[in-house]
């Protein structure tokens, strides 16, 4: 049980990273981004390709992978999101689903549909916390998550950060005072791509293998649940929600799937969590408004 909680906390770090990207996009564009997981998968595939075929050093391969994720975010913003800006949010949501599917199918075609392995970024012996071995990669994941939190908090205090906040509150008024809304939108989607890429790149070596669409399949619904629990417009809430979902999912998997023998126990628990939060407290733990 204790092991399940510790493991869940580390798993939750990935969800938190994805959830922060989701919340950022929601604040900026008022849309649920179903392609968030694909930023990560793309980064992982590009990095893996650069390591395996081009034999680049790890850091360079990772940087190239992350820039591809950022580029995907920006291209998506330019080609899909901006032309659809005035349309209904459901339309935008279906469009992001389309982008996710297109990226998944492209990776399926370019890379083979079999699972691959990515090396860990840092080697070393696992540290043991109460019978659970924690890999250095997992510490790295937590560290990067903390750094992302601090950097985001600092970023929101700069002029650019204020511009992002202002645009998310009232796009028209921001335009009147001279903020370039397209530029802000680009920043938001670029950073969402970066966050998704980081989540994928740090998570893939921990799970051991990756395949086309793996982060969308394993991480998207928990990440959305985390964002909803935190309140869709609260960045701090996304961190808390991510860790909470990780722990609950891990405990659910342990109690339901392994002990009671119910198939898909972890998904069941996350679904229950989502429904309960939406029914009881639709604005989440730290959220201010109820999204529609």
């Amino acid at each position: 049980m204790f092991q399940a909680i510790v493991l869940g906390l580390f798993q939750g770090a990935t969800y938190a990273m994805l959830a922060v990207g989701l919340v950022l996009v929601y604040k900026g564009a008022k849309v649920f981004n179903f392609a968030q997981g694909e930023f990560g998968t793309l980064a992982v595939y590009v990095t893996w390709c650069m390591l395996g075929y081009q034999h680049l050093p790890y850091w360079l391969a990772a940087v190239i992978g992350l820039s591809c994720a950022v580029a995907l975010g920006m291209v998506m913003e330019r080609l899909i999101v901006r032309p659809l800006m005035g349309r209904s949010r459901i339309t935008l949501l279906v469009a992001t689903v389309g982008v996710a599917l297109a990226v998944i199918q492209t990776t399926l075609i370019v890379a083979e549909p079999k699972p691959q392995n990515l090396d860990v970024a840092v080697n070393g012996n696992p540290t043991v916390i109460g019978q659970v071995g924690i890999l250095p990669q997992q510490w790295l994941l937590i560290g990067v998550l903390a750094a992302v939190g601090i950097l985001l908090a600092l970023f929101l205090r700069t002029d650019y950060g204020h511009a992002v906040t202002a645009t998310s509150q009232d796009a028209f008024a921001s335009r009147v005072v001279g903020i370039s809304v397209p530029a802000v939108s680009r920043i938001i989607w670029g950073s969402a791509g970066l966050l998704g890429g980081l989540a994928g790149l740090l998570q893939a070596p921990i799970t051991g293998s990756f395949y086309p669409g793996y982060l969308t399949i394993t991480g998207l619904i928990p990440a959305f649940t985390a964002a909803v629990i935190g309140g869709m417009d609260s960045l701090a809430g996304a961190f808390v929600g991510g860790l909470a979902v990780g722990v609950v999912q891990s405990v659910g998997q342990y109690q339901l799937q392994l002990k009671a023998g119910i198939p898909g126990g972890s998904g069941l628990v996350v679904f229950a969590m989502l429904i309960i939060v939406l029914m009881v407290r639709p604005r989440g733990l730290l959220g201010k408004e109820v999204a529609a």
Partner: protein
């Protein structure tokens, strides 16, 4: 989107109402009969393997209709449709295995599909919009992981056997069963959309509060829409189970089932019955059109298995539909449908301009289905498109009623521009009204409104209209925001600008549009 396309026809003043001639009626009847005959003789003409593909196309058609009821009519995006179809499939297999017979299996499958959708509909009463999309997604994945892997019900990973009944054992007879089921469901959908219930469901989607003030039972009709959609999905699932003869949980995966189903409904044009059915059967079959023996060589990528390409094409089609062709397939086939129903073939210039593209697509697809080389198919398609374009340019675009209609819209837009400029002209150009660019003008040379159009309008305008127009002339000039409807057209509410010449015609036009 396409619901607007189904709205009653708009009659511009000064134009006679279209009445179909008796020879035209005969032609339409012959065309409709030929179409029905072709669809229902396909299983007879094709081989047994293709009979199976026809069944699958019909089953996908039913699934598309089911998505259309929940997403198109009731406006609830359903990303978890594999739950409804899957539960129907497994229930059907379960009932047949327990020797209750095929009819009982189909009934039970449809019922449990409806019940499951109803349960999700209860959630939709509290949760709306984007959150509901999220809930359906999580629900579908949950059903796929938990319910479909429940060993005593579905056989776990080993799958569940669903034998066909003796009278539908052959592929050909099963294809007819599926086609008849599809025809029945199209009928149900048609009657639904024409009934009070159908109009109420669409009203609840458009604006729940207004619908409630009109005395519509919003809760009841929302749940009813979910139940009808779930019923269709369960039926499709049952047919799918017996079509495959073995059901596995893997058949109802998010990426191979639920998302493509939403995509095919959107590409077909939500709310358009014919468009959704055609797009769905296209999505079911088009992977079989690719010659699967040899892998394709794609530039920069290398060799690609033919089966991998169709899902990518589906996703790209979706993005195109959303960003460029907003009405989807339903919008594209509207002229043909209207013609078959006894109306005019073309109503707008825009419809005429879309035809070469359609000819290109069909001209490419038909030879491609017979596995001819794609260069040849492209050549045939392009040739047809050029011919169609030339024909349209020579004969159709010169027809006065099409031009007049376009010219009226252009005038309305010019008027709107002027009003905006008057009220916002003092603002700096960076945030003020955008100056009109050359690219805004219609690309084809547009003749001015013929004089008889204006006089015709005056002749037919009644006294009440004249009074209303004179009121409008004295109204203070205010900025009126443009209202954008679902099709992306800009409609201009009546703007009071005294210096316009053909005021009466515009007023009549506006009133007509506003009323419909």
């Amino acid at each position: 989107m396409a619901v607007a396309a189904q709205a009653p026809e708009v009659h511009v003043i000064g134009r006679p109402r279209f009445v179909v001639t008796s020879s035209g009626l005969v032609g339409r009847a012959v065309a409709a009969l030929a179409l029905a005959l072709v669809v229902f003789t396909i299983p007879l003409l094709t081989t047994s393997v293709w009979d199976n593909i026809v069944s699958l196309a019909a089953i996908y058609g039913i699934i598309g209709l089911s998505v259309n009821v929940i997403t198109g009519y009731a406006g609830q995006i359903s990303l978890g449709h594999q739950a409804f179809v899957g539960i129907g499939a497994f229930m059907s297999a379960f009932v047949v295995q327990h020797k209750f017979g095929f009819v009982a299996a189909v009934v039970a499958a449809s019922a449990i599909g409806a019940v499951m959708a109803l349960a999700l509909g209860l959630v939709a009463l509290r949760i709306r919009g984007l959150y509901m999309a999220l809930v359906t997604l999580a629900f579908g994945v949950m059903a796929q992981d938990t319910i479909f892997n429940w060993r005593s019900f579905t056989g776990g990973g080993a799958g569940s056997e669903a034998p066909r009944p003796a009278q539908f054992a052959s592929n050909e007879s099963f294809a007819y069963l599926c086609l008849i089921a599809l025809a029945l469901m199209v009928m149900v959908d048609w009657r639904l959309s024409k009934s009070k219930a159908g109009r109420a469901i669409v009203a609840v989607r458009s604006n729940e509060r207004v619908a409630a003030t009109l005395g519509i039972n919003t809760t009841g009709y929302k749940l009813f829409a979910f139940a009808v959609g779930g019923f269709m999905a369960g039926l499709a699932g049952s047919l799918f189970a017996h079509h495959e003869k073995f059901v596995y949980a893997n058949n109802f995966d998010l990426f191979t089932a639920a998302l493509p189903w939403v995509i095919m409904a959107v590409v077909g044009g939500l709310g358009s019955r014919a468009g959704v059915v055609i797009a769905s059967s296209f999505f079911a079959t088009f992977s079989y059109f690719f010659p699967s023996a040899k892998p394709w060589t794609v530039p920069f990528i290398g060799s690609v298995g033919a089966q991998q390409l169709p899902p990518l094409i589906g996703a790209v089609l979706l993005l195109f539909t959303i960003t460029v062709y907003q009405g989807g397939l339903g919008q594209q086939i509207l002229p043909y449908r209207r013609w078959l129903a006894g109306g005019r073939f073309l109503e707008h210039r825009e419809e005429a301009l879309g035809i070469p593209g359609q000819v290109l697509l069909v001209g490419f697809m038909v030879p491609f289905a017979f596995h001819l080389p794609w260069q040849f198919c492209l050549f045939v398609g392009a040739l047809g498109a050029v011919a169609a374009g030339a024909g349209i340019r020579a004969h159709v675009l010169t027809r006065p009623e099409l031009q007049r209609r376009r010219a009226t819209v252009a005038e309305l837009e010019a008027e709107q521009e002027e009003v905006e400029h008057e009220t916002l002209g003092h603002l700096p150009s960076s945030i003020g009204p955008r100056p009109r660019r050359a690219s805004d003008e219609p690309t084809l040379p547009m003749p001015a409104v013929p004089a008889d159009a204006a006089s015709g309008a005056v002749a037919t305008a009644d006294a009440a209209q004249a009074v209303e127009d004179s009121d409008a002339e004295h109204a203070p000039t205010t900025r009126i925001p443009a209202v954008t409807d679902d099709q992306g057209e800009t409609e201009v509410p009546s703007a009071g600008d005294p210096s316009e010449r053909p005021r009466r015609e515009l007023g009549a036009f506006r009133r007509k549009r506003g009323r419909t």
